[in-house]
């Protein structure tokens, strides 16, 4: 007897009619089967796909599938055919079931085993099965991943005891977890690191006990390899640590600008360099901008925001002044790298502020030194030019007169006069040589000058005494307003020379129309410098006509003089690190101002 096993199904898979053959096949009374769902009758992995199969068949395409009958009563194949909608009845399906013979069933079983083996061998995780026998754990199965991960060939592992495979110290720990899994009948999970032929491996291990009907026990284990993740974590940690120490080692103020939050995360350098205590770190962006020199704010702070938001630049750098906590200013060189997303929008900037105050100061000193040297060099060149000229003039005359003396009659008046002129020329030559010698001696001493405290009023009085006769002769009057004890650091001899030269000039170039008046005063300036003024009501001169302090510069050709006095005054003043300036107007007077 081979009754047809056929069912009529609605669109959802509910049985509407069954044949006796089908009832026999599933070994349930037909009356019980009505209105049950096909999926309930055929539990198993395949029936999960049933709704999809039903839809496919309803669309007009016959499908068939294989399913296990409950309680291991065999395997059946079911063919689903569309049942067109009839009058008053919705569309449904026919199902034709047929048992599968033992041979075909074995085929299916083998197929499923192959599938399972493929799955197990292609999964990246390690899978193993241990047989538990009297406290011993023996490998019954390991997948391919086991071999690739540990480097141990499958053949050397299966059939061996765990104690032969897993090295100490991991072994002791592992066995405890196995015992726990068996004792608690629960899955146990832990992290394990062991040395294998393929190197140190870290993994998350999980074992699940499976008990057979006979009381036998197997442990099914999986290992998820964490080695790479662990290594990456370790590398990240090492690099973070390096960055941390680099931050400590650098004297720069390293920062990380989070542009979305507009905050700056500061390295330790910020507090160390500038002394500002950070109440919070990261700190708001403006905490930095607040200390940028106000005059430079637009260039630096606005400039940075412009570079970040309005350009596609990745590098930014600026030199500016930054205020320290104590109020002083640091010269800063700030460089940063702007990180941008795919659209080019800045989202972060890493940078460092470097305190270059010391370098800047050194540069400034070097600049001043260079300026001083350049000036000295120019002075020296001018000195050489002037001296050579002023040496050459009396020398040329001497030569000429020597020649002339050989040409004229020894008894003539020309001979007599020429001899006198030769003598005068040689005296002038000697005077220039003497000038050069005295100027050079001031220049020579410039470096070795040992400053002493000089009481100005005293030195001024001494200079006046030496000029007393000349002053009296012209009816001149000197008013000295220098405070009695006022002293300045410098050379007594130089101050004497300065007063003597300025006063004798005032006498020499007095105005005939009015009695000579000389005012001298000395005051301490608000900036701490000493100011000395020597003022007369004499002839004066036109300052437009040249530098009165230049060697051999003469403004009054009718008054005898060599043009060395004011040059010496200036040399003396400058050798004491002072400064001299002059104001004058023709027929009004002259005022010299000295600053020390």
């Amino acid at each position: 007897m081979n009754p047809r096993a056929v069912v009529v199904l609605d669109a959802d898979g509910n049985l509407l009619r069954v044949t006796a053959g089908f009832a026999g096949l599933v070994q349930r009374p037909a009356s019980e089967l009505l209105h049950t769902n096909l999926a309930e009758l055929l539990p198993g992995p395949e029936t999960r796909l049933l709704p999809q199969l039903l839809r496919e068949a309803l669309s007009g395409r016959p499908v068939d599938f294989t399913a296990e009958l409950p309680l291991q009563r065999g395997t059946i194949t079911v063919l689903l055919l569309p049942r067109p909608a009839a009058a008053g009845q919705p569309a449904g399906l026919y199902g034709v079931a047929q048992p599968v013979g033992p041979e075909a069933a074995t085929q299916l079983l083998l197929e499923r085993q192959r599938q399972l083996a493929t799955i197990l061998d292609t999964t990246a995780d390690v899978v193993f099965v241990l047989g538990v026998d009297d406290g011993q754990y023996r490998f019954l199965y390991v997948n391919h991943a086991f071999e690739t991960t540990t480097g141990l060939p499958t053949g050397q592992v299966v059939g061996r005891l765990v104690t032969e495979i897993i090295p100490e110290p991991a072994l002791g720990e592992v066995v405890q977890y196995y015992q726990q899994a068996v004792a608690t009948r629960q899955t146990v999970t832990w992290q394990e690191t062991s040395e294998y032929p393929n190197g140190r491996k870290t993994g998350e291990v999980s074992v699940t006990p499976v008990f057979g009907a006979d009381g036998s026990c197997q442990l099914v284990g999986t290992v998820h390899d964490l080695t790479r993740q662990k290594e990456a974590e370790a590398r990240l940690e090492a690099s973070n640590e390096r960055f941390h120490y680099a931050l400590k080692a650098t004297t720069d103020a390293v920062y990380d600008w989070n542009i979305a939050a507009d905050t700056l995360y500061w390295g330790e350098g910020f507090e160390a360099l500038f002394g500002h205590r950070l109440a919070q770190n990261p700190a708001p962006f403006h905490k930095w901008g607040d200390y940028v020199a106000p005059a430079e704010y637009a260039r630096v702070v606005a400039g940075l925001r412009h570079a970040a938001f309005e350009t596609s630049n990745v590098f930014w750098q600026e030199r500016y002044c930054f205020q320290r906590a104590d109020g002083s200013w640091a010269a800063v060189f700030d460089r940063g790298y702007i990180l941008r997303d795919e659209q080019g929008r800045a989202f972060r900037m890493i940078g460092a502020m470097q305190d270059v105050s010391v370098q800047k100061e050194a540069e400034e000193q070097q600049r001043l030194l260079l300026k001083r040297l350049e000036k000295q060099n120019a002075d020296l060149q001018q000195f050489t030019y002037i001296v050579s000229h002023n040496l050459r003039a009396p020398l040329a005359n001497s030569l000429g007169y020597a020649t002339l003396l050989g040409k004229v009659d020894k008894n003539s008046s020309v001979f007599e006069e020429s001899l006198r002129h030769l003598h005068t020329s040689l005296q002038l030559l000697d005077a220039v040589v003497a000038d050069v010698s005295s100027i050079l001696s001031v220049r020579d001493q410039q470096g070795s000058l040992r400053p002493e405290s000089v009481v100005l009023a005293e030195v001024c009085q001494q200079a006046l005494q030496s000029l007393e006769t000349q002053l009296a002769a012209c009816g001149g009057q000197v008013l000295c307003y220098i405070p009695e004890h006022l002293a300045v650091m410098g050379s007594r001899a130089y101050f004497h020379s300065i007063f003597h030269n300025l006063l004798s000039n005032a006498i020499k170039y007095r105005a005939d129309a009015r009695p000579l008046r000389i005012n001298i005063d000395a005051t301490r300036q608000p900036d701490g410098r000493m100011q000395i003024r020597v003022e007369d009501n004499g002839q004066g001169f036109d300052p437009e006509r040249g530098d009165v302090f230049q060697l051999y510069r003469r403004f009054h050709p009718d008054t005898p003089g060599r043009g060395i006095g004011l040059y010496l005054v200036k040399t003396h003043v400058e050798s004491m690190n002072g400064h001299i300036s002059v104001r004058s107007a023709v027929d009004a007077g002259t005022q010299f101002t000295l600053l020390f």
């Binding site: 030019y385 050579s388 000229h389 050459r392 003039a393 009396p394 020398l395 040329a396 005359n397 030569l399 000429g400 007169y401 020649t403 002339l404 040409k407 004229v408 020309v414 006069e417 020429s418 002129h421 005068t424 020329s425 003469r554 403004f555 050709p557």
Partner: protein
């Protein structure tokens, strides 16, 4: 010889010397001396209409108006003076820059370093007699 000659120099010793050297070489019997360039300029401008000096010895380094300023002041009279008045710079300076600068003035016939010597005086005499002979510059 009646070569009308001007000597312009603020240095009295130098003026006396040059005058005597010129006389010793019988350069001229008509030598006028000026202690300032301004003074000489006034006279020269007056002379331009009549008989300007044939030779002028001009010092460079003088106060108030130096030799260059004197030459600049003569520029308006250049046409009248060219070929008639020969200006010789007579300076104690040995600076090469003076020589360079002297070339810029076509009124300047030469530059002589003090003291003037016999050869230089004779060369000037020769160039006055026959203007084709190159002048000592």
């Amino acid at each position: 010889m009646l070569v009308k000659t001007y000597l312009i120099d603020d240095d009295t010793l130098s003026i006396y010397l040059t005058e005597q050297l010129l006389r010793a070489e019988e350069f001229s019997t008509s030598i006028s001396t000026f202690h300032s360039a301004q003074q000489a300029l006034g006279r020269l401008v007056q002379d331009t209409a009549g008989t300007p000096p044939q030779v002028v010895f001009l010092d460079l380094n003088m106060p108030l108006m130096n030799g260059w300023q004197f030459l600049d002041a003569l520029q308006p009279y250049r046409q009248e003076l060219l070929g008639r008045c020969h200006i010789y710079i007579l300076t104690s300076s040995l600076a090469l820059t003076d020589l360079e600068k002297a070339r810029e003035y076509d009124l300047v016939s030469g530059l002589i370093h003090k003291p003037i010597d016999t050869e230089e005086i004779r060369a000037i005499q020769a160039s006055l007699e026959s203007p084709d002979i190159p002048e000592p510059m």
